[in-house]
Symmetry: C2
């Protein structure tokens, strides 16, 4: 299969998934709160791609949820490219992806994050993952979440879960606080080689995320919570903000490659406390 | 004067100033909210200094204010030292400073920040400054603030104000939003040479900060505000958080040199919104 075909398949899938996830969320939300959509271009002088981000705020179920699609291309700036495989001789890149961050009104429901992407330089690869950040411990939920991920991974490769879970734990960690961001999940990157196999896996990650957030939210949507729970959630959201602004590679990548600031910082919680 | 003497003079001054500023704040606060003090050490195995931070939260006048003193020493980690003058051949350093960040309850009163420090490697220098971040425009306040700073600078050197104001504007800027953090102030660093002259200036910066925050707060302490003003303040505090976590050198310096996380992130607002 030629590279153009692969790029089209990947970015079309991310676009379809954005629609599907937004539809699921809107069904859960039920209230009058609806997604606001905004399309943006990376460069207004020449075509370097862009994207569409959709945000739903102040719902009955969701405090804030963003579903971001992008397809961007051009050349990496000098100082950024040393971290990207395959850009030593040619700084050109093409990248498409989808990312989702949801902050729920009910503080007993964890914040959830998901992302998948396909990147092409002189090489090409998939990356992505999902992770969950509760502000209150729930061992049953944690076990079910990891079990679902493990089963999904095992459908593709018996080695995936263990490696990608560990990668996730290492990535979503706040060294200055010596604490993990949440209860982990899976994280993978630089996934080269068999496009068909990898693309199948990436699609399954997206579909599984949709299954997982539906299940977690429906189970707890009517659970009573207290202001003490809400305060704990605000503090946890402060930690979430620290991680995203101090360490997150996607945030740095976006801000340094001229991405849309509003879209990139969509992941920040509606309210955080310290 | 020998170096040890200079270090003692500088750090003793920062310590005295911490007391004085806390006393001023406590007088403004009036309510039962009092400073909580916490002393910390950089290393529990060997002596590498430490500090004392004081925080007052949930007052009637102050939502949150932190007054941080530190005196730390040791060796810079490899990856950090390339940015610090005089550490090429010897990574040893000694640093002492005071920093203050205040977030007011009344959203018509700006957030205010001040810091002065004395650093010694194979060279030694002062740095510091202050800046003000309103969430509502107030041209009179802005003019008075800059006038006070200009007069103070002029007492020491007719060239200071222009240079340090510009440096401040360049430093407290959010490139991803193409907007300044606030209305600026003064910022200076690597101030070498005549210790007596520089130390005199640094003391004046501290005393002037005390004068300025007293004046600004007293003038507006009883001004009526609306929830709309408060919401604007929360959004501005989100920007403040972005700056501190994405760009602030002091935050990076602290987190990477094993400073006390609670003390370093003391500058973050009590509540921020996006």
């Amino acid at each position: 299969m030629d590279l153009e075909m692969k790029k089209n398949l990947a970015s079309n899938w991310f676009k379809i998934l954005q629609d599907s996830i937004c539809h699921s969320i809107q069904k859960l939300e039920k209230s009058n709160a609806i997604f606001q959509s905004k399309s943006w271009k990376r460069n207004h002088k020449k075509d370097e791609g862009g994207g569409e981000f959709r945000i739903l705020k102040n719902g009955k179920v969701f405090d804030k949820v963003g579903v971001n699609f992008s397809k961007v291309y051009g050349k990496f700036p000098q100082k950024f490219k040393k971290n990207i495989p395959g850009t030593q001789k040619d700084p050109s890149f093409w990248a498409s992806g989808i990312s989702v961050v949801m902050h729920l009104k009910n503080p007993l429901i964890p914040a959830m994050h998901f992302n998948t992407r396909y990147i092409s330089t002189t090489r090409d690869w998939f990356g992505g993952g999902m992770d969950v950040t509760p502000s209150r411990i729930d061992r049953t939920e944690e076990k079910e979440f990891h079990n679902t991920l493990k089963k999904m991974c095992n459908r593709h490769d018996k080695n995936y879960y263990k490696i990608y879970k560990k990668w996730c734990d290492q990535y979503f960690y706040l060294p200055h606080r010596k604490e993990p961001r949440g209860i982990g999940g899976i994280f993978f990157d630089y996934k080269k080689g068999n496009f068909d196999k990898n693309f199948k896996f990436v699609r399954d990650v997206g579909i599984t995320f949709e299954f997982i957030f539906n299940k977690i939210i429906k189970k707890k949507i009517k659970k009573k919570w207290s202001m003490k729970d809400k305060e704990a959630q605000y503090i946890k959201r402060g930690r979430y903000t620290e991680f995203n602004l101090l360490y997150d590679r996607g945030t740095k990548f976006g801000l340094q490659t001229g991405g849309n600031t509003e879209g990139i910082l969509m992941s920040l919680p509606p309210t955080a406390k310290w």
